[in-house]
Amino acid sequence: MQTTIADKVINYNEEKPILKSWRSNWWYSMIPFTQSKESELYDQSLSFVTRIMLEKIYAKNIDLNRSIFITEEKNKLDRTLSKILELNKLEVNWDGYGAKSINIDTINAGIKFITLLSEKLFHYKSIKMPPPTVSPCTDGGIDVDWDTEELSIMVNIPQQPNPIYSIYIERGDTKIEMEFHYKGNIDGVLFILSQIV
């Protein structure tokens, strides 16, 4: 008999303070997915169509002359960006709590922001961050989390065409949370980062 997600919660008693989420740390226990679902999710080899789409996105957003970024960092981002593209498949109420769907403009905005910030961090601040975690929000936006032991950066890409983005940065005891009007330029974000990194 297959063990289900819910079966596993019953014997899972330890609370772990793992997730830094915006202004708070949420203490939680997570019940893993069933093995079959894990296998399905991990097997996210990129389709040919997805690869073509990503190549076009990179060509628009990243200086192709910067071959170091292209060869090393781009590969790390592929899986993250392909996951964002998949969010377009979510239908209204995909979470069972009444969530909005993620429109294609929001997905494009997320991809552009991630590639741009990753590239800028890599070239101008010499910061190598792991590929971010992306998660859809119930309001139709997308949360993007970069998380290391030293530095956490969270950005909320709002449902487009809303231009007001939110950002939360935490490094040690320094915590900054603010909104900014995004017009395709992230110099303001980099300036904030330069103050604490």
Binding site: R23, W26, F33, W94, G96, T138, D145, S166
Partner: protein, 108 residues
């Protein structure tokens, strides 16, 4: 007949359904988007009136229940978070329904 709201003790737990798209399986944790409000708050189920199975299966859409995981949150720990309140808000079809009310991030 509608259920009456009750005070939830700090020692009790809440279950929240998380869609697979909100999980970072590489690091085995949910992304921050998993903790966001719908309407007046973030919906959960009180473990006094719900099991993880019931929370997972209480999906109003035709999606596969196995596409969802369950996170378990301690009520007292949530109340320790700035600006967060735990309010039992039973519904006719779900006596366990509980809202976590308070801004989850600056924008909402």
């Amino acid at each position: 007949m509608p259920y009456e709201a009750e005070e939830i003790p700090n020692k009790d737990f809440l279950f929240r359904r998380i869609h697979k798209s909100q999980i970072d399986l590489v690091n085995d944790k949910p992304g921050s988007g998993a903790f966001s409000d719908s309407g007046d708050g973030m919906s959960t189920d009180w473990d006094k009136y719900s099991t993880p199975h019931e929370t997972r299966n209480r999906i109003k859409t035709n999606t596969d229940p196995l596409d969802y995981g369950i996170v378990r949150l301690n009520t007292g720990m949530i109340r320790n978070i700035e600006d967060q309140e735990v309010i039992h808000t039973p519904e006719d079809y779900n006596r366990a329904h509980t809202d976590i009310i308070g801004k989850k991030k600056i924008a909402n």
